[in-house]
Symmetry: C2
Subunit: 170 residues, 2 copies
Protein backbone atom coordinates (compact mmCIF):
# COMPACT_ATOMS: atom_id res chain seq x y z
CA UNK A 1 0.00 0.00 0.00
CA UNK A 2 1.17 3.51 -0.81
CA UNK A 3 -0.38 6.53 0.85
CA UNK A 4 -0.39 9.84 -1.02
CA UNK A 5 -1.22 13.41 -0.22
CA UNK A 6 -2.09 15.47 -3.31
CA UNK A 7 -3.28 19.02 -2.87
CA UNK A 8 -2.69 22.74 -3.04
CA UNK A 9 -1.49 25.19 -0.41
CA UNK A 10 -0.78 28.90 -0.27
CA UNK A 11 2.82 30.12 -0.20
CA UNK A 12 2.48 30.48 3.57
CA UNK A 13 1.27 26.92 3.94
CA UNK A 14 -2.51 27.14 4.23
CA UNK A 15 -5.00 24.68 2.71
CA UNK A 16 -7.84 27.16 3.04
CA UNK A 17 -8.63 30.45 4.67
CA UNK A 18 -9.85 30.61 8.29
CA UNK A 19 -13.44 29.95 7.16
CA UNK A 20 -12.40 26.85 5.15
CA UNK A 21 -12.96 28.78 1.92
CA UNK A 22 -10.91 28.52 -1.31
CA UNK A 23 -11.84 31.79 -3.01
CA UNK A 24 -8.15 32.85 -3.12
CA UNK A 25 -7.38 29.60 -4.95
CA UNK A 26 -10.12 29.98 -7.58
CA UNK A 27 -8.75 33.43 -8.31
CA UNK A 28 -5.23 32.11 -8.93
CA UNK A 29 -6.46 30.78 -12.26
CA UNK A 30 -7.01 27.34 -13.69
CA UNK A 31 -4.35 25.35 -15.44
CA UNK A 32 -5.22 23.35 -18.54
CA UNK A 33 -2.63 20.66 -18.06
CA UNK A 34 -1.70 19.32 -14.64
CA UNK A 35 -0.66 15.88 -13.45
CA UNK A 36 -4.06 15.40 -11.78
CA UNK A 37 -5.71 13.04 -14.29
CA UNK A 38 -2.67 10.78 -14.30
CA UNK A 39 -2.48 10.91 -10.51
CA UNK A 40 -6.17 10.14 -9.98
CA UNK A 41 -6.10 7.25 -12.48
CA UNK A 42 -3.42 5.56 -10.35
CA UNK A 43 -5.46 5.77 -7.12
CA UNK A 44 -7.63 2.90 -5.81
CA UNK A 45 -8.99 4.47 -2.63
CA UNK A 46 -9.59 8.03 -1.48
CA UNK A 47 -10.06 9.12 2.13
CA UNK A 48 -11.16 12.55 3.23
CA UNK A 49 -12.20 14.29 6.42
CA UNK A 50 -15.73 15.47 7.06
CA UNK A 51 -14.97 19.15 6.37
CA UNK A 52 -13.41 18.28 3.01
CA UNK A 53 -16.41 16.10 2.12
CA UNK A 54 -18.88 18.84 3.07
CA UNK A 55 -16.97 21.26 0.84
CA UNK A 56 -16.84 18.85 -2.11
CA UNK A 57 -20.50 17.86 -1.64
CA UNK A 58 -21.42 21.45 -2.46
CA UNK A 59 -20.07 21.05 -6.01
CA UNK A 60 -22.55 19.96 -8.73
CA UNK A 61 -22.19 16.29 -9.76
CA UNK A 62 -19.34 15.85 -7.31
CA UNK A 63 -19.75 12.06 -7.28
CA UNK A 64 -18.84 11.92 -10.98
CA UNK A 65 -15.32 13.17 -10.16
CA UNK A 66 -14.60 10.13 -7.99
CA UNK A 67 -16.01 7.29 -10.10
CA UNK A 68 -13.06 4.92 -10.32
CA UNK A 69 -12.00 4.94 -6.64
CA UNK A 70 -13.47 3.53 -3.45
CA UNK A 71 -14.32 6.65 -1.46
CA UNK A 72 -14.31 6.98 2.34
CA UNK A 73 -15.12 9.86 4.66
CA UNK A 74 -13.82 9.85 8.24
CA UNK A 75 -16.89 10.95 10.20
CA UNK A 76 -18.84 10.02 13.29
CA UNK A 77 -22.16 10.62 11.55
CA UNK A 78 -23.88 8.51 8.89
CA UNK A 79 -25.60 11.36 7.01
CA UNK A 80 -23.41 11.64 3.89
CA UNK A 81 -26.31 11.42 1.38
CA UNK A 82 -23.86 10.24 -1.27
CA UNK A 83 -24.13 6.76 -2.76
CA UNK A 84 -20.48 6.41 -3.69
CA UNK A 85 -18.99 7.63 -0.39
CA UNK A 86 -18.81 5.39 2.67
CA UNK A 87 -18.63 6.86 6.19
CA UNK A 88 -15.93 5.46 8.48
CA UNK A 89 -15.76 6.26 12.16
CA UNK A 90 -12.72 5.68 14.30
CA UNK A 91 -9.01 6.13 13.88
CA UNK A 92 -7.50 6.96 10.46
CA UNK A 93 -4.23 5.14 11.18
CA UNK A 94 -6.07 1.94 12.18
CA UNK A 95 -8.26 2.18 9.07
CA UNK A 96 -5.24 2.70 6.80
CA UNK A 97 -3.39 -0.27 8.25
CA UNK A 98 -6.28 -2.59 7.26
CA UNK A 99 -6.02 -1.66 3.55
CA UNK A 100 -4.44 -4.33 1.37
CA UNK A 101 -0.82 -3.95 0.26
CA UNK A 102 -1.49 -3.47 -3.47
CA UNK A 103 -3.67 -0.36 -3.09
CA UNK A 104 -2.84 3.29 -3.71
CA UNK A 105 -4.56 5.58 -1.23
CA UNK A 106 -5.11 9.32 -1.68
CA UNK A 107 -5.55 11.37 1.47
CA UNK A 108 -7.60 14.23 0.00
CA UNK A 109 -7.43 16.40 3.13
CA UNK A 110 -7.07 17.99 5.52
CA UNK A 111 -4.62 18.32 8.36
CA UNK A 112 -6.74 16.25 10.79
CA UNK A 113 -6.05 13.20 8.61
CA UNK A 114 -2.53 14.11 7.50
CA UNK A 115 -1.10 14.89 10.96
CA UNK A 116 -1.66 11.46 12.57
CA UNK A 117 -0.48 9.72 9.38
CA UNK A 118 2.74 11.77 9.35
CA UNK A 119 3.20 11.14 13.08
CA UNK A 120 2.97 7.38 12.45
CA UNK A 121 5.26 7.56 9.36
CA UNK A 122 2.46 6.27 7.15
CA UNK A 123 2.69 8.93 4.40
CA UNK A 124 4.68 7.64 1.41
CA UNK A 125 4.42 10.51 -1.07
CA UNK A 126 3.48 14.18 -0.83
CA UNK A 127 2.49 15.95 -4.06
CA UNK A 128 2.01 19.59 -3.18
CA UNK A 129 1.06 22.48 -5.45
CA UNK A 130 2.11 25.85 -4.06
CA UNK A 131 0.02 28.85 -5.15
CA UNK A 132 1.80 32.26 -5.33
CA UNK A 133 -0.51 33.76 -2.72
CA UNK A 134 -0.02 34.78 0.91
CA UNK A 135 -3.07 34.51 3.18
CA UNK A 136 -1.60 35.47 6.55
CA UNK A 137 -3.89 33.08 8.40
CA UNK A 138 -5.95 29.99 7.63
CA UNK A 139 -6.10 26.21 7.97
CA UNK A 140 -2.48 24.98 7.83
CA UNK A 141 -1.63 21.79 5.91
CA UNK A 142 1.02 20.68 8.40
CA UNK A 143 0.01 20.26 12.04
CA UNK A 144 2.02 17.13 12.86
CA UNK A 145 4.18 16.74 15.95
CA UNK A 146 7.51 18.51 16.39
CA UNK A 147 9.82 15.78 15.07
CA UNK A 148 12.20 16.29 12.14
CA UNK A 149 10.95 14.21 9.20
CA UNK A 150 12.95 14.00 5.99
CA UNK A 151 11.64 13.39 2.51
CA UNK A 152 13.39 13.04 -0.84
CA UNK A 153 12.54 15.71 -3.39
CA UNK A 154 11.82 13.67 -6.52
CA UNK A 155 10.56 16.35 -8.85
CA UNK A 156 9.85 20.07 -9.11
CA UNK A 157 7.38 21.16 -11.78
CA UNK A 158 5.50 24.26 -12.76
CA UNK A 159 1.89 24.28 -13.98
CA UNK A 160 0.87 27.82 -14.83
CA UNK A 161 1.15 29.80 -11.60
CA UNK A 162 1.51 26.68 -9.43
CA UNK A 163 4.83 25.13 -8.36
CA UNK A 164 4.49 21.39 -7.71
CA UNK A 165 6.83 19.47 -5.43
CA UNK A 166 6.84 15.65 -5.42
CA UNK A 167 8.38 14.21 -2.26
CA UNK A 168 8.89 10.60 -1.19
CA UNK A 169 9.42 9.37 2.34
CA UNK A 170 13.10 8.64 3.03
Amino acid sequence: MSVYFYGCISLDGYLADKNHQLKWLDETGTVEETGYDDFYSRMDIIIMGRKTFDFIAGIKNFESFYETTDNYVMTHRNDLNAETFTPVSGDITEFIKEISEDKNVWIVGGNTLLAPLLDDDLMDTLIIQIAPVLLGDGIPLFTQQEITKRFTLKETKQYGQFAELVLDRM
Copy 2:
Protein backbone atom coordinates in the same frame (compact mmCIF):
# COMPACT_ATOMS: atom_id res chain seq x y z
CA MET B 1 14.92 50.31 -5.47
CA SER B 2 14.07 46.62 -5.46
CA VAL B 3 13.68 44.69 -2.22
CA TYR B 4 14.42 40.96 -2.21
CA PHE B 5 13.99 38.11 0.20
CA TYR B 6 16.34 35.19 -0.52
CA GLY B 7 16.43 32.30 1.89
CA CYS B 8 15.55 28.74 2.78
CA ILE B 9 12.58 27.31 4.65
CA SER B 10 11.41 23.85 5.67
CA LEU B 11 8.51 22.22 3.82
CA ASP B 12 6.25 23.34 6.66
CA GLY B 13 7.43 26.95 6.36
CA TYR B 14 10.03 27.40 9.11
CA LEU B 15 13.22 29.44 8.79
CA ALA B 16 14.77 27.71 11.79
CA ASP B 17 13.79 25.43 14.62
CA LYS B 18 12.31 26.81 17.86
CA ASN B 19 15.82 27.52 19.21
CA HIS B 20 16.82 29.45 16.05
CA GLN B 21 19.07 26.55 14.99
CA LEU B 22 19.67 25.29 11.44
CA LYS B 23 21.00 21.79 12.14
CA TRP B 24 18.16 20.24 10.09
CA LEU B 25 19.27 22.41 7.15
CA ASP B 26 22.96 21.49 7.32
CA GLU B 27 21.91 17.84 7.26
CA THR B 28 19.88 18.33 4.06
CA GLY B 29 23.16 18.47 2.15
CA THR B 30 25.02 21.17 0.31
CA VAL B 31 24.48 21.96 -3.33
CA GLU B 32 27.46 22.76 -5.55
CA GLU B 33 25.60 25.02 -7.91
CA THR B 34 22.89 27.39 -6.78
CA GLY B 35 21.84 30.82 -7.94
CA TYR B 36 23.36 32.38 -4.82
CA ASP B 37 26.56 33.86 -6.29
CA ASP B 38 24.65 35.47 -9.12
CA PHE B 39 22.01 36.74 -6.70
CA TYR B 40 24.52 38.19 -4.23
CA SER B 41 26.52 39.88 -6.99
CA ARG B 42 23.40 41.84 -7.98
CA MET B 43 22.76 43.15 -4.44
CA ASP B 44 23.95 46.59 -3.24
CA ILE B 45 22.65 46.54 0.33
CA ILE B 46 21.81 43.80 2.81
CA ILE B 47 19.66 44.22 5.91
CA MET B 48 19.23 41.66 8.63
CA GLY B 49 17.69 41.40 12.07
CA ARG B 50 19.71 41.09 15.23
CA LYS B 51 19.04 37.34 15.66
CA THR B 52 20.21 36.65 12.09
CA PHE B 53 23.33 38.75 12.66
CA ASP B 54 24.16 36.96 15.91
CA PHE B 55 23.83 33.63 14.09
CA ILE B 56 26.02 34.72 11.17
CA ALA B 57 28.58 36.34 13.51
CA GLY B 58 29.29 32.87 14.91
CA ILE B 59 30.65 31.72 11.54
CA LYS B 60 34.42 32.06 10.96
CA ASN B 61 35.38 34.99 8.68
CA PHE B 62 31.70 35.89 8.26
CA GLU B 63 32.56 39.42 7.13
CA SER B 64 34.32 38.04 4.05
CA PHE B 65 30.99 36.68 2.77
CA TYR B 66 29.49 40.18 2.58
CA GLU B 67 32.32 42.19 1.05
CA THR B 68 30.63 43.84 -1.91
CA THR B 69 27.45 45.06 -0.18
CA ASP B 70 26.65 47.76 2.37
CA ASN B 71 25.53 45.77 5.40
CA TYR B 72 22.99 46.89 8.01
CA VAL B 73 21.65 45.25 11.15
CA MET B 74 18.35 46.38 12.64
CA THR B 75 19.17 46.57 16.37
CA HIS B 76 18.74 48.87 19.33
CA ARG B 77 22.25 48.15 20.58
CA ASN B 78 25.59 49.34 19.16
CA ASP B 79 27.65 46.28 20.10
CA LEU B 80 28.03 44.54 16.74
CA ASN B 81 31.85 44.21 16.89
CA ALA B 82 31.96 43.95 13.12
CA GLU B 83 33.64 46.61 11.00
CA THR B 84 31.60 46.03 7.86
CA PHE B 85 28.17 45.95 9.51
CA THR B 86 26.34 49.12 10.58
CA PRO B 87 23.70 49.07 13.32
CA VAL B 88 20.41 50.80 12.54
CA SER B 89 17.75 51.42 15.17
CA GLY B 90 14.20 52.33 14.36
CA ASP B 91 11.65 51.20 11.84
CA ILE B 92 12.63 48.94 8.92
CA THR B 93 10.00 50.40 6.58
CA GLU B 94 11.18 53.97 7.25
CA PHE B 95 14.80 52.91 6.71
CA ILE B 96 13.96 51.13 3.44
CA LYS B 97 12.08 54.12 2.07
CA GLU B 98 15.22 56.29 2.45
CA ILE B 99 17.31 54.03 0.18
CA SER B 100 17.95 55.43 -3.30
CA GLU B 101 15.95 54.14 -6.24
CA ASP B 102 18.80 52.41 -8.09
CA LYS B 103 19.71 50.01 -5.26
CA ASN B 104 18.96 46.31 -4.84
CA VAL B 105 18.29 45.39 -1.23
CA TRP B 106 18.43 41.88 0.23
CA ILE B 107 16.40 41.26 3.37
CA VAL B 108 18.46 38.38 4.80
CA GLY B 109 15.98 37.55 7.57
CA GLY B 110 13.93 36.93 9.50
CA ASN B 111 10.19 37.33 9.91
CA THR B 112 10.48 40.45 12.12
CA LEU B 113 11.84 42.32 9.07
CA LEU B 114 9.82 40.55 6.39
CA ALA B 115 6.39 40.92 8.04
CA PRO B 116 6.26 44.75 8.18
CA LEU B 117 7.72 44.99 4.65
CA LEU B 118 5.04 42.62 3.30
CA ASP B 119 2.35 44.52 5.22
CA ASP B 120 3.49 47.76 3.55
CA ASP B 121 3.77 46.10 0.09
CA LEU B 122 7.50 46.86 -0.03
CA MET B 123 8.74 43.37 -1.00
CA ASP B 124 9.39 43.14 -4.74
CA THR B 125 10.79 39.63 -5.13
CA LEU B 126 10.77 36.49 -2.99
CA ILE B 127 13.36 33.81 -3.81
CA ILE B 128 12.60 30.88 -1.54
CA GLN B 129 14.37 27.53 -1.35
CA ILE B 130 12.19 24.81 0.15
CA ALA B 131 14.01 21.96 1.91
CA PRO B 132 12.31 18.52 1.90
CA VAL B 133 12.11 18.45 5.70
CA LEU B 134 9.21 18.79 8.15
CA LEU B 135 10.03 20.35 11.52
CA GLY B 136 6.60 20.50 13.17
CA ASP B 137 7.47 23.72 14.98
CA GLY B 138 9.95 26.57 14.67
CA ILE B 139 10.38 30.17 13.55
CA PRO B 140 7.96 30.73 10.64
CA LEU B 141 9.06 32.79 7.64
CA PHE B 142 5.64 34.34 7.12
CA THR B 143 4.06 36.24 10.02
CA GLN B 144 2.51 39.12 8.08
CA GLN B 145 -1.07 40.31 8.56
CA GLU B 146 -4.09 38.38 7.35
CA ILE B 147 -4.55 40.03 3.96
CA THR B 148 -4.49 38.13 0.66
CA LYS B 149 -1.35 39.11 -1.25
CA ARG B 150 -0.69 37.82 -4.74
CA PHE B 151 2.66 37.26 -6.41
CA THR B 152 3.60 36.08 -9.90
CA LEU B 153 5.49 32.80 -10.02
CA LYS B 154 8.37 33.61 -12.37
CA GLU B 155 10.43 30.46 -12.09
CA THR B 156 10.58 27.06 -10.40
CA LYS B 157 14.00 25.44 -10.15
CA GLN B 158 15.58 22.49 -8.40
CA TYR B 159 19.05 22.57 -6.84
CA GLY B 160 19.86 19.15 -5.41
CA GLN B 161 17.24 18.51 -2.73
CA PHE B 162 16.02 22.12 -2.71
CA ALA B 163 13.09 23.46 -4.73
CA GLU B 164 13.46 27.16 -5.48
CA LEU B 165 10.52 29.44 -6.23
CA VAL B 166 11.06 32.93 -7.66
CA LEU B 167 8.06 35.21 -7.11
CA ASP B 168 7.53 38.84 -8.09
CA ARG B 169 5.00 41.21 -6.59
CA MET B 170 1.92 41.60 -8.79
